[in-house]
């Protein structure tokens, strides 16, 4: 109850002072940016394709820079929404990376299995097949003594 009252009073103070609300917004964008970057780095570590997320983060950085320069709260809000979008999407990209990595592992194991199987087949059947082909190839040959 006390914390709710505190929150309301802080909101009222912030709402009554546009400069401080802008400062709070800038600080929030910066905090969220750091969080978004950590989420993107984690998604990349899991093997996800984070290029789209990085593009969006850079758009947010441009909006933040211009918003700070022009004291434009709309730009700062837009930057914040982009950063929040990155935070929300990063775990999905990370999961996609995990699935892709698993698929690559299965693919690698299959390739190794095929190479080993080919080796065994060649080892076991190659002499028979080779000589059969050799005989078939040379069957019209006549040997003169």
């Amino acid at each position: 109850m006390v914390s709710a009252l505190l929150l309301i009073s802080v909101s009222l103070v912030v709402a009554s002072n546009p400069a401080s609300s802008e400062l709070a917004l800038k600080a929030r964008v910066r905090l969220e940016l750091a969080e978004a970057f950590v989420a993107v780095a984690e998604a990349e570590r899991l093997g996800g394709d984070v290029s789209g997320l990085v593009d969006e983060l850079n758009q947010a950085l441009i909006l933040l820079e211009e918003g700070e320069m022009r004291n434009d709260e709309v730009m700062l809000q837009e930057a914040l929404s982009k950063v929040e979008d990155v935070v929300a999407r990063a775990p999905v990209v990370g999961q996609g990376g995990v699935a892709a990595m698993q698929a690559r592992t299965v693919q690698s194991l299959l390739v190794v299995g095929v190479v080993v199987a080919l080796g065994v087949i060649v080892w076991h059947y190659e002499p028979k097949i080779f000589w059969r082909l050799w005989v078939r190839n040379k069957r019209r040959w006549k040997v003169k003594a």
Binding site: V54, V115, F130
Partner: protein, 169 residues
Amino acid sequence: MESEGLIVDEQVMAVVLAVLVIVGVFAGSQTFFAGRVVEPFSELGVLGPKMKIGDYPRELIVDESFTLYLHVGNHEGRVMYYTLLVKLGNRTTSISDEEPMDVSVFARYEVVLLDGKNWTRPVTLSVEEPGVNYRLVFELWAYNEGVRDFVYHGRWCQLWLNVTKPAVP
């Protein structure tokens, strides 16, 4: 005759297997080491107004704008969040690869870069106070996920500037 043929077969077989083993080990190692960066590093560069190394401003008038191009490259093997801090020091202020310059920040630019990517952007700056032997220093900082803050990355560039008062008409 048959035994000679068998000996040749076994030799051929051994060679074929050896080739298969070598190819297998090579392919496996390539897969295992793919994407690993042996020596991670970041690039920092400052280019002149023509986007080339050279033609840097040296003598300026107070509040005179000049354009430079900042270049950052990521070869760290992972995504990086860089901040480029511009600081104005003088002959006595120190900076090294370990310690950043201990003066206030003049300008700040940020970018997130994927591994293998680089970023070049124009910046327009001006100096408000006259002075001799100013050092315009560009420091590269990177976000450290462990510390949860930007950490000096040990890369820096500088330009020496003389800034004079405008001539009174």
